[in-house]
Amino acid sequence: MRIFLKIIWYEWKIQCSQRSNWLLCCFYLAIFWLNFSIHELPIHTVVDFSTKTAQGLGLFGSLFTAVISVYHFRREVQPGFAYFWGRLLSSTYYPWVKLTASILVQFTALLPTLACFSGLLWLTFGAEAAPIGLSIFMWLITPTIFFTLSISFLISILVRKSIHALFILITGFISYFSLQLDISQPLSFAPYSIYTSALIGFGPDASFVFLNRILYLCLGLLVCLMGSFLANVLLPVCYRFKFSRLNVSLIIFSFALAIGSILMAIQYQEISHLANSLPDPLRHAQQRVVCQDIETYTAEITLDATGRISAGNAIIRFNNKQARDSIPLTLNAGLKRMEPQYIENGQLISDKKSGYSSAQEMQIQYSGRMIIPRYSYSYYHQEPSIKALGLEPGFFANANFALILGKGTWHPISECAPNSIMITIPNSFPVVYTSADTITSGIDSSIYTWEHREDGVLLVAGNYSQYKENNGWMVFLPDQLMSTDKEEKLVNLYSSVLDVGSSFLSIAPFNQGKIVMVPLIQQSYWQTTDQSIFIPERLVFASKLLGTSNENLIEQSLNITTLVAQDVLIAWWCEDRNCPDLYGTLIAGQSEYSINPENYSSAPFLFYSALRLSREMGQQIDMDAVLRFFSDAAGNPLQMVMLPIILPEESIELVPRIGRIGEDLCYHEFGRLLSESRELSRKDTISFIGIKQLANTISSNDFLCTQSGEP
């Protein structure tokens, strides 16, 4: 073993002395610095930054590794190395020495990059971020480098000339990159970085990442073993392969590895298929109609310590008016359910067919690990009907975190919130928020029960390292979300907007409200009953925290405070409903989510309200100029594209009209107008005329303004 290590040491020294390795070092550094914007680093999480770095270096590094390694693998196969091959040790350990030394050389070349990477993490997120980032980076990049080296090794053994081997490798890698740039596929080098979270790491993608990396390690090892057997045959070794006990066990191990890799690839494909499949919005729509026919609906689940649903039970009783043939079930694809006689092809069939009386209870038992489909948390463009489903599973749980919403595919009729819910959760989950009516604590687990219909957030449990009080709000943030100053700025903004907003909207004061940052959700939810707001971890306007100076007057108005005000107002307006069109258009600035016709008036109303709220908070907003800009843009396509938000023409012309109404109302009057409009929008689509009539009614009671002055 000592001699083996000594040979590796010499091989490492020989490889490192090549001048091209210094160039490799520089290119790794160049890729690292080109891969991210240092200006935006403070608003990225450690996981995100590490993943992106590993992804960039893995993608380019695999090409470089292929180039560098071929020459080293074939160095001793040139004429003049007869003495080398005549020695037992050289020929026996040749493949393993070469591979180990090549891996070490790659990491040596990566050292300056790793130093810069750790240094940046240290400076931006603190000392504890560096080991976390490094471990993620190493976990992602090691299989990539190992796999590339093993493939290079195999090709070098098979192809006699270095230049031909190199040509085959480079064309192979280039063809792969050219034809398959989607690097999340099984034959890939790094997982996506867009689904990472400071709180749940790779979250729903964790199983993909794990399988992907292990698969590549196994494949790399398998290719190495193949290479070492072939080396024994094709290289000029003097001691050929013999069927010794060790070699036989290596052959058996290789077969086991091959079978294991195939099984892993199949499992990866299965999960990938389920996670990437699209929902059927029609089934959800059909369910929504059925909700009124349900008399009682009870959902009970028990979570184990890993976040798996170990037992689930749904009991449904329809009222006697129920006369439907079938009701589609939308239980998550990862959950396995028992098939009682009243379930057929994923549908709950009527009593006529099953012979069940509508008065009888129907029970569905299920268990398994939820598979969170990508469309439910992806920020990519989706069909509006799919986007409207929001976080469709309404559930995410792993060993460290749990999030459960009232509506979701964790129970079979996901669109109808159950009347009664019972969730049993191990005590290892630190619950930071629950809306449960009763909590029964046991030795190992606690039972949370809800005795009324609950649509919003039921429970959030997680290792929130940051627990602090800010302006009377309890704030729960994940650790290393962004740099400390940016975190503080964000928390201050939310607590201030919520404070002013609560008074503006006359929301009854609560003992102590909560601001909880939650992964996977795409819009904020404000539960006014207990003054808790759940904000998405991936804030689409986080870049505004960097405070870039905008010359444009309109962009100045739409600053971070206004955006937070918009977020809070939309969360309050929609409460537990999903409003992807409002959120996408007003906050994310996305054009593809065209506003639903029922929101043609509410979108400009909320936009103006956010500006008003922002102004009340002391922001310098030239309201006249903003309203004039919108007024001029209406009917002028050239000016329309310059607007900070993309609205339909009907809504653009409503902004100045609503603005004029709003400017005539004092602070409290406008707050009341907003509250009453919201109540109205719950019953029917709100229109500009409706807003105007409400404003007239409110302004006639002018005691509101005299009662208390402006804040």
Binding site: Q18, L34, I68, I174
Partner: protein, 242 residues
């Protein structure tokens, strides 16, 4: 100068063909089969039935403008270094300077790529008469020359073929894999795959000839640098005067 003389004397033409063949063979053994394979693969890729006209044009641009430079770079890297690695450069260098040898082989390799592009273009015209213009062949040539010169420069500076491959691949992959980022940072003028990019991300065609002219300037600069480096090496070896 050489070409009229060659045309006057058919024997010299035969000698020239033999020399070109030898130079190509010494740059990359089996170059002919690689080019034939490339043409066959390209043909199968562009005749794929599911493609519409724009997709087919984009694929043609990809094969001609993006893939050809890396082939040219790969072949020209070993044009001189093949002899250096094999230890036979002393023999060549005593008869003519390394600079001349490198220039001749570089031109030969790029001429071969040009011929291959012309053949590819003719195949496209025969298969899809409505697609492609002859000028497209020459649109790809500056990219091929640029990548060839860049790879050669790094190889000659470090006297290590891997250094050239690394530099070439870094430059090529940054422009191809990171196309969007490069275009957004540096704009379309210095972008080396503008024809392909203009089909993929439509807006920049008006910059086309500025881009190609700039690339030729860069190529000339690299070419001169390579010659300077080779002259230094020649003087160090003091072989060309022997």
């Amino acid at each position: 100068m050489i070409i009229p003389r060659v045309l006057e004397n058919p024997r010299k033409l035969t000698q020239l063909v033999a020399l070109v063949k030898y130079d190509l063979q010494s740059s990359f053994p089996g170059v002919f089969w690689v080019l034939v394979g490339y043409l066959a693969l390209s043909y199968s890729l562009i005749t794929e039935g599911s493609l519409d006209t724009v997709e087919r044009q984009t694929r043609i641009a990809f094969l001609m403008e993006v893939v050809s430079p890396i082939l040219a770079g790969f072949f020209s890297n070993s044009a001189l270094m093949g002899d250096v690695v094999a230890g036979s450069i002393i023999f060549s260098a005593t008869r003519q300077s390394m600079t001349k040898l490198w220039v001749r082989r570089l031109i030969t390799v790029n001429a071969a790529i040009l011929v291959e592009l012309i053949v590819f273009h003719l195949i496209i015209r025969l298969t899809y008469p409505g697609i492609g213009q002859f000028s497209e062949v020459f649109i790809s040539t500056p990219s091929c020359l640029l990548v060839s010169c860049l790879i050669s420069l790094f190889t000659l500076l470090f006297m290590d073929m891997n250094a050239g491959y690394l530099a070439g691949l870094f430059f090529w992959s940054a422009n191809f894999i990171g196309s969007k980022a490069i275009l957004s940072i540096f704009g379309p003028k210095p972008y080396i795959f503008l024809w392909w990019a203009s089909l993929k991300y439509p807006p920049q065609l008006e910059q086309f000839w500025v881009n190609k002219a700039l690339m030729l300037v860069f190529t000339s600069l690299l070419f001169i640098l390579c010659i300077l480096v080779l002259n230094v090496k020649d003087k160090t070896l003091n072989l060309s005067k022997m």
